[in-house]
C-alpha cells in the first residue's frame, strides 16, 4: 500500500472487522469461514440439491436409466466471460449453464450434470452474485440438469472482470446416435432454429456501444429439450451445431471443412430480426457473423426436414425456424450464398475481430 494514498479508504480508517455481506472481498476466497458462508448463502441456497449439499470435494452421481442400455458418456467444458455480466435477456450464469448444456446436446446426448467454477473479482456485490446464481439455477431447472460441484476463487480488483464462470457438463449419448460436424452429406437440408445475431447485438447494446436504444433480447437458452423433440421426429439427423462466437457463417464453414462438402445458403431464407438487421446495417456488421446463444443448426436428410421443421415450430425456441440451404458435393470445404438479388458469393469464416467500419 502506498503511503501517499491519503484518500485511500484502507489507508486511514480504523481496521474494525466489517461484516462483509454486501461486496465480495479477498477473504471470501480464503477457504475459511467467509468462503463457507459465501458458498452456503449464495451457491447452496440457489442450487441446493443433495449432491451439492454433501459439502465434499467431489460429487458422487448416478447414471441415468438410459445408461443401462449401451451408449457413451459425453463431456464438455467451457469458460464464460461476458461484458456486461447482466444483459437484456440473460446474464453470465444463464449463459454458462446454457452454453454447456448446448455443447453436450450437439452430440445428440442428454445432459445430466454440470460443475461450475467461479472466479470472482473483489468488489462484486452479493446482490449481483445472488441474481446470477439464481439465474443459473433457473436455467438448470429448464434444462433438467443438476449443478453437482463447484469451486470459488476470489482475485484482487483488476485481476478479473467482475466474474468468470467455467463449467463442465456430463451427459449420456444413447447407443446408435452418430451426430457430428463430420457427418453432413450431399443432399442434406440445412435448418436454423430461429433468428440469428440476437445475442451479439443485445450484448453490444447493453455495453452502450450502439449509441441508440434497442429492445433486442439475447436468445440465450438451453436447447436440450428442443433437440430431444427433434430427434424423436427426425431420428437420422447428421449434424447439430450451436452457432455461438463467429455466428452462423463460421459454424457452417467448420462443418463444410469437417465433412468435406459444400453448403449452399439462400440469403432470402435466413431469419433475421428486423431490429438486429438495422443495427447491423448501421455498424457495418453482417448478421451471419454475429453470436447466438440459443440457436441450433440442424443438418439432416431431406426426407426428414419437414418433420423436423414442424417439431421446431411447435416449440417456443424453434418457432422461427427455417430451411436455409442444402449440402452439395462441390466446391468442397466452401460455404456459398445465393444472394437476395440472385448472385452467388462465398461466405467466409470470420478473419479476426469484427470491427465497425468507418463510413
Amino acid at each position: 500500500m502506498s503511503n501517499k494514498s491519503t484518500n485511500s479508504f484502507e489507508g486511514l480508517v480504523c481496521p474494525i472487522p466489517l461484516n462483509h455481506k454486501k461486496f465480495i472481498v479477498i477473504g471470501h476466497g480464503s477457504g475459511g469461514r467467509m468462503t463457507h458462508d459465501l458458498i452456503r448463502d449464495i451457491f447452496q441456497s440457489s442450487f441446493g440439491n443433495p449432491i451439492l449439499n454433501s459439502f465434499n470435494d467431489f460429487a458422487g452421481v448416478i447414471l441415468p436409466d438410459q445408461a443401462k442400455m449401451k451408449g457413451r458418456l459425453c463431456i464438455s467444458t467451457d469458460a464464460h466471460i461476458v461484458n456486461p455480466i447482466i444483459f437484456p435477456g440473460g446474464d453470465i450464469g444463464r449463459l454458462a449453464i446454457s452454453g454447456t448444456v448446448n455443447d453436450i446436446s450437439m452430440s445428440g446426448g442428454i445432459p445430466l450434470y454440470v460443475t461450475a467454477s467461479f472466479i470472482i473479482e473483489e468488489g462484486l456485490s452479493f446482490d449481483v452474485l445472488r441474481t446470477i446464481a439464481t439465474s443459473m439455477n433457473t436455467a438448470a431447472l429448464e434444462a433438467k440438469v443438476q449443478i453437482v460441484a463447484g469451486d470459488t476463487k476470489v482475485v484482487e480488483k483488476g485481476k478479473a472482470d467482475k466474474l468468470f464462470i467455467s463449467t463442465t457438463g456430463i451427459g449420456w449419448i444413447p447407443e446408435g446416435r452418430q451426430i457430428g460436424g463430420e457427418m453432413a452429406q450431399e443432399g442434406d437440408v440445412v435448418i436454423i432454429s430461429g433468428t440469428i445475431g440476437d445475442h451479439g447485438i443485445a450484448v453490444l447494446a447493453a455495453r452502450g456501444e450502439l449509441k441508440f436504444s434497442t429492445t433486442i433480447q439475447s436468445d440465450v437458452a438451453p436447447l436440450n429439450q428442443l433437440i430431444q423433440n427433434i430427434l424423436e421426429t427426425a431420428p437420422h439427423v447428421h449434424v447439430l451445431r450451436d452457432p455461438t462466437r463467429g455466428g452462423l457463417a463460421t459454424s457452417l464453414n467448420e462443418i463444410a471443412l469437417q465433412s468435406q462438402v459444400s453448403i449452399l445458403l439462400e440469403e432470402d431464407a435466413i431469419p433475421v430480426n428486423p431490429e438486429v438487421r438495422a443495427a447491423c446495417e448501421m455498424l457495418g456488421f453482417d448478421p451471419l457473423y454475429v453470436a447466438n446463444e440459443g440457436k441450433v443448426i440442424i443438418i439432416l436428410p431431406a426426407n426428414e426436414a419437414d418433420a423436423a421443421l414442424k417439431t421446431l415450430h411447435h416449440h417456443p425456441l424453434g418457432k422461427n425456424a427455417e430451411k436455409i440451404g442444402v449440402v452439395k458435393k462441390e466446391p468442397t470445404k466452401r460455404v456459398l450464398l445465393k444472394t437476395l438479388i440472385g448472385g452467388t458469393r462465398i461466405v467466409d469464416m470470420l478473419a479476426g475481430e469484427m470491427l465497425p467500419r468507418i463510413c
Binding site: 445465393k338 470491427l355 463510413c359
Partner: protein, 363 residues
C-alpha cells in the same frame, strides 16, 4: 424502410440488368470510386450477374487503404506512449504499419480504443484530463464533418489534451489523377453517394466536361448500383458525358452546406500522399493554423520515419483501376486478411479483401 423489398429486390435488379444487356453494343469500363460500393458489388454477387461487355474496375475510395504508411507508423508510435489514449475507427487497428499494427500496440499494453465517432474521443478526453487523447482522423469527405466537429467541440470545452492525427482525402483530385494518367482505362465513374451527400456533385461537372466522362452519383444498395451503371451506360452508348444523380433520395447538387462551411472553417486544402498511388496535388485537407493546437503531428514531435512497403504488393495499381486482385501473385496465398501485405487486403472495404472474402476462387 425494408431493404429486402425495396433496394435489394431481385425482380427489379434483374429487369434493370436485362435493360442493361439490351443497351450494350460494345465493351465499356466503369469505375466505382467508393470501397463501400466495391464491397456491396461483391457481397451481393452483382459482379456475376453483369453483362460480359461491362467491366467494373474498383477505385481508390477506401480511406483505410490510402492512408499513408508513414502516418500509420506515426499513429503506432503515438499510441505506444504511456500517457496517451489513442482512439480510432475499428478498421484502422488491423492496418499493417512497417512492422506492426495498432492491435499489437494494444496487446503490448497501449491504451488503444475503438470509437464509433470522434465525439466519443472528445468525451474520453473530457473524462481523462491527465491523459493525451488522440483521434486518428482519416477518411474522405464523408468523415470530414465529424472530424472537424470534434475539434470544434474540444475547443468549446477548453480541452488541451485532445488532438487529431489527420489524413483527410478528397475524391475530385483523385479522379483527375486517374483520368490524367497515361494508362487510364476508365470511361465512366460511379461517384460515391455518401461523399456527395456532404459535398454535393457540382465539383464533378468540370471533370466530366474536361475528360468527356459520364459521372453518375450512385448509392450502395444493389438496385442503386445497377441503376447507376445503367445511367452511365446510357450516356456512354449515346456519346454523352455529364453528371447525373442516381441517388437523389440522399444527394443534392449543392450537398450539405452547413457541413461544408465547418470543414472550410477548420481545414485547408493541402498536397496529400495516397498509399500506393503517391502524391496528388491539393488532394487532402489539413488543420488550419488557428487549430494547430489540436494537431497531433505537431503536438507529438516525431522524427521522419523510414517506411517500407511489400515489394510484391500491387495495391497501388489496384487502387487506380489498372489491375485486379487476381493479377497479383500474392493474392490469397501469401497475402490474406489474416496476414495482409498491403492495405487493400486489410480493410473490409479494400478491393482485395472484398475479392478474397466473397469471390476468391470463383470465375
Amino acid at each position: 424502410m425494408d431493404f429486402k423489398t425495396e433496394f435489394r429486390n431481385k425482380t427489379h435488379v434483374q429487369s434493370a440488368l436485362k435493360e442493361m444487356g439490351k443497351l450494350l453494343t460494345r465493351p465499356w469500363v466503369i469505375m466505382e470510386i467508393c470501397g463501400g460500393q466495391t464491397h456491396a458489388i461483391m457481397q451481393y454477387g452483382l459482379n456475376e450477374l453483369l453483362p460480359e461487355e461491362l467491366e467494373i474496375v474498383h477505385g481508390p475510395g477506401c480511406p483505410v487503404c490510402v492512408t499513408p504508411l508513414e502516418l500509420v507508423d506515426k499513429a503506432i508510435t503515438i499510441a505506444s506512449q504511456p500517457d496517451v489514449i489513442f482512439t480510432s475507427f475499428g478498421d484502422m487497428l488491423r492496418v499493417p504499419g512497417s512492422d506492426r499494427d495498432l492491435f499489437s500496440v494494444r496487446a503490448a499494453g497501449g491504451d488503444v480504443r475503438v470509437v464509433l465517432s470522434p465525439l466519443d474521443a472528445v468525451q474520453i478526453a473530457h473524462e481523462h484530463p491527465e491523459k493525451q487523447v488522440v483521434f486518428f482522423a482519416i477518411g474522405f469527405e464523408t468523415t470530414a464533418p465529424n472530424n472537424v466537429i470534434s475539434v470544434l467541440k474540444a475547443r468549446e470545452l477548453g480541452l488541451t489534451n485532445y488532438s487529431v492525427l489527420v489524413s483527410q482525402v478528397r475524391v475530385p483530385p483523385a479522379m483527375h489523377a486517374i483520368l490524367g494518367a497515361p494508362h487510364n482505362r476508365v470511361q465512366a465513374f460511379l461517384a460515391a453517394g455518401h461523399v456527395c451527400a456532404v459535398m454535393g456533385y457540382h465539383e464533378y461537372e468540370p471533370i466530366s466536361k474536361q475528360y468527356h466522362v459520364p459521372i453518375v452519383v450512385t448509392g450502395f444498395e444493389p438496385l442503386d448500383l445497377v441503376y447507376g451503371m445503367l445511367d452511365a451506360i446510357r450516356q456512354l452508348e449515346s456519346g454523352k458525358s455529364m453528371v447525373e444523380n442516381a441517388y437523389s433520395r440522399v444527394v443534392t447538387r449543392s450537398g450539405n452546406q452547413h457541413a461544408q462551411k465547418i470543414i472550410e472553417q477548420v481545414y485547408e486544402p493541402c498536397d496529400q500522399q495516397w498509399r500506393g498511388i503517391g502524391l496528388i496535388p491539393m488532394s487532402g485537407w489539413r488543420l488550419r493554423k488557428e487549430y494547430s493546437q489540436f494537431d497531433a503531428s505537431m503536438k507529438f514531435k516525431l522524427e521522419a520515419m523510414h517506411t517500407h512497403e511489400s515489394e510484391i504488393c500491387i495495391a497501388g495499381q489496384i487502387l487506380q483501376g489498372l489491375k485486379k486482385p487476381k493479377d497479383c501473385p500474392a493474392f490469397a496465398n501469401i497475402c490474406t486478411p489474416e496476414s495482409p501485405l498491403g492495405a487493400t487486403m486489410v480493410s473490409s472495404e479494400g478491393t482485395c479483401a472484398a475479392y478474397y472474402r466473397f469471390a476468391r476462387d470463383r470465375e
